[in-house]
């Protein structure tokens, strides 16, 4: 084995006093060899990101590396003066981040941002020479028309293009190590697949090393040569990718791999009787532009029809901007649809006046995406959960008694009622949000990306809970997700949306087994780790 490029020895990163534990990273030893991809995988709070940031000397304020060494070419990066680190940053070690929009300067053109980086390290006096270099890099990233891209500002680019620009910047000085911190988490699946392929290709072509930080075992299966699994700041398992994925030794690794949805559907479609809800030809336009510019309307939802039966889960799948969330918000009348009808229990609720709608509202409830903004931070869990029944005039004592039952149903004990939302984890908050919706005994539950903000093991628990609740209460569920794997796990039928239109719909099993449209095929092919993760 060749000499390792970087060896991290017994790295300990201390958290400021008052944090939930003393060390974010606790005695981690890892090596990264030349020309390999090492994936660090773990759930949020495992210390995987801080390990990557420590190598780059980018620990956040108040967090310090209190012990250990990070050896790079005989020098200990933790003891290097700032000027020394600055020379290494960008030239030898480069980094890309999760959110390319936040990492790019919004008021400076792409061309200037790349050339600035080049000229900070290399003596290139000719501006044109640097620009040519930048253009060449963008072309290498597979971006069409690099010349005009150099003149663009970040907001004019798509998410995938931005991440390619970030990678181009990172590679502009031919670093020997690229640290990629969840570089595809904020991207759509098809874009994610392209970026992953790009990173892999460049790594091979340039024979460099990549430290790839991710929470997704599917991505690990696609990318890694070696894998390190982290939990609570420690490495619990490390080894060759084939070994760790095919034959995991540690029980935590096994649990993580088992929690990854496989994208294989086993659910039978529910018998179709008279639908509980039917949407016909619904459209919703959004106007862009102000008073002075001509208003261009964007069709967010374009003549969509669907039916939903009692006891069934219908998945609405699509990438960002496909109109799936707008559709859901029109069904529940958080938005008013422009055209079309929503028949619910014999009445068209699409055009109903707010006063007439109120008694029907309680029968269609929603679980939201963001567990941090969906609960009022100033109310106790008890107040949040009984707010719905109280709005309909239910007696407060009765409501509280029922709230205790419902909280137990979603797996929380009744003591939670006196506590505030910030005292709970993301998964627990989603359970509270579900309890709030269930308090009104709805017929239909709309779940808008309910698990996309959660860790994979928590995600599996919440999905199971949603399915149990659906069965117990005989709910009809509209399940909105961008993740084909999740859809396969809980949905009886799926509807694939793109640019506001329905591309394909049908029973989940047949759509996954024999997709009829190219777009669905592309979505399925983009699922990370597909076919590489063995059933455990």
């Amino acid at each position: 084995m060749a000499e390792p490029l970087i060896s991290i020895r017994d790295l300990t990163v201390a958290l400021p006093p008052g944090a939930d534990r003393a060390h974010a990273v606790d005695g981690v030893s890892l090596t990264i060899n030349p020309n390999e991809i090492l994936c660090i995988v773990g759930e949020s709070g495992s210390g995987k990101s801080l390990t990557g940031h420590a190598v780059m000397g980018l620990l956040p304020r108040g967090v310090t590396a209190s012990g250990g060494q990070i050896l790079f070419e005989g020098a200990d990066l933790l003891r290097l003066p700032l000027s020394g680190i600055r020379k290494l940053r960008g030239r030898d070690i480069a980094m890309i981040f999760q959110d390319p929009m936040a990492a790019l300067n919004p008021v400076v053109t792409i061309g200037r941002q790349i050339t600035e980086q080049i000229r900070a390290h290399r003596a290139i006096s000719e501006k044109k020479e640097a620009l040519d270099l930048a253009g060449g890099l963008l072309a290498e990233m597979g971006l069409a028309d690099p010349k005009s891209l150099l003149k663009c500002f970040p907001h004019q680019l798509s998410g995938g293009q931005r991440q390619r620009v970030m990678i181009a910047m990172a590679l502009s000085l031919s670093p020997r190590l690229l640290i990629a911190d969840e570089p595809t988490t904020a991207l759509d699946v098809t874009t994610q697949a392209q970026i992953l392929k790009l990173i892999k290709r460049i790594q091979t072509e340039r024979a460099m090393s990549v430290l790839f930080i991710t929470h997704d075992f599917g991505v690990v299966a696609d990318m890694a040569d070696r894998v390190a699994v982290m939990r609570h700041g420690r490495v619990v398992e490390e080894g060759a990718a084939t070994e760790v994925l095919g034959n995991p030794k540690h029980s935590y690794t096994r649990a993580l791999i088992a929690a990854v949805p496989r994208g294989v559907s086993t659910l039978q479609p529910v018998a179709q009787d008279k639908p509980l809800l039917s949407v016909t030809d619904m459209s919703k336009k959004f106007r862009r532009g102000g008073i002075f510019s001509s208003a261009a309307a964007v069709k967010a939802v374009d003549k969509v029809s669907l039916t939903l039966n009692r006891g069934e889960t219908l998945g609405i799948v699509g990438e960002s901007g496909s109109g799936k969330s707008t559709l859901a918000r029109c069904v529940i009348r958080l938005l008013d649809p422009d055209e079309g009808a929503v028949l619910f229990d014999g009445a068209d609720i699409a055009r109903m006046k707010p006063r007439a709608l109120r008694p029907l509202r309680r029968r269609i409830q929603m679980v939201f995406q963001d567990p941090f903004s969906s609960l009022n931070p100033r109310q106790t869990v008890g107040e949040i959960v009984i707010a719905g029944p109280r709005a309909y005039g239910e007696d407060i004592r009765e409501a509280r008694a029922r709230a205790a039952d419902i909280l137990r149903l979603v797996g929380l004990n009744s003591e939670t009622m006196n506590r505030f939302p910030h005292e709970f984890s993301g998964g627990q908050r989603q359970r509270i949000g579900l309890a709030r919706a269930l308090m009104l005994k709805p017929d239909i539950l709309i779940a808008d990306e309910p698990v996309s903000a959660l860790d994979v093991t928590v995600q599996a628990q919440v999905l199971k809970l949603l399915d149990d609740v659906r069965q117990q209460m005989n709910l009809a569920m509209l399940f909105i997700t961008h993740d084909m794997r999740v859809a396969a796990q809980v949905c009886h039928r799926v509807m694939v949306m793109r640019h506001g239109q329905v591309v394909e719909s049908g029973p989940t099993r047949s759509v996954f087994a024999a997709p009829s449209s190219d777009y669905t095929r592309a979505l399925l092919a983009a699922i990370p780790g597909r076919g590489r993760l063995a059933a455990v």
Binding site: M366, S374, L375, A391
Partner: protein, 275 residues
Amino acid sequence: MRDSLRVFLSRPIPLVGLVIFAVIVALALLAPLLFARGPFTIVGMPLLPPGAPGLLVGSDVLGRDMAVGLAYGARISLLVGITSTLCAVGIGVLLGAVAGYYGGWLDDLLMRVTEFFQIIPSFVLLMVLVAFMQPSLSSTVIGIALITWPQVARVVRGEFLSLRGREFVQAARTLGMGDVRIIFTQVLPNALPPIIVVGSMMVGSAILTESALSFLGLGDPNLLSWGSMIGGSRSAMWVAWWTTVLPGLAIMITVLALNFIGDGLNDALNPRRRR
């Protein structure tokens, strides 16, 4: 909320402000008990210096006890400061909440009205209003409230604009809550911290404004306030410094204390600025 209180009390500057403010409030409340004869009673020769027999801080141009005047003046200053701020906060919260929550043309309309009040030189407007309504305590309070509510309305509108898009507000709508209920039980409690901060600062500036009005003789002629004490003594400014400097100091210390409290509240209630 309990955390915020601890942060507030753990810092020296807001605590100093709170203590000073408490002393002034106590003085104002106890004035009728301490000085039963009232602020207008003549007790001796005019312009006696501080330390003269029986006169702790001297007498004014008419031979009235300055100490009594300062204590009674505190009553008027605090009364005007607090009630006018409460009125301004009431108007501002109501209009700002409606504008921010509903948006659209209602927001445009209300914000143009708000701007109308903001583009007129506010003190000139105030003088016109008070002169028009006859100088009295209530006209002072109404006038100050009318020129200060726009800043509250702006802050509240901004908070409501950002809060109404949050998922918990959408959740409240899907639960079938009415708009009034959502505004008061869901959104307003979350918008409270900046309102409290702005309010505490406004009390100080209302006291200043009242003093300026009284100095110009536009205050209630039957009540003694710090501003009217300065106004009435300005002819004696060069021969008896205490007649103007002491009420001026009183105003300064009170406003400073209120600003200290406001700063402390800002730190304590703003989660981003907590350590």
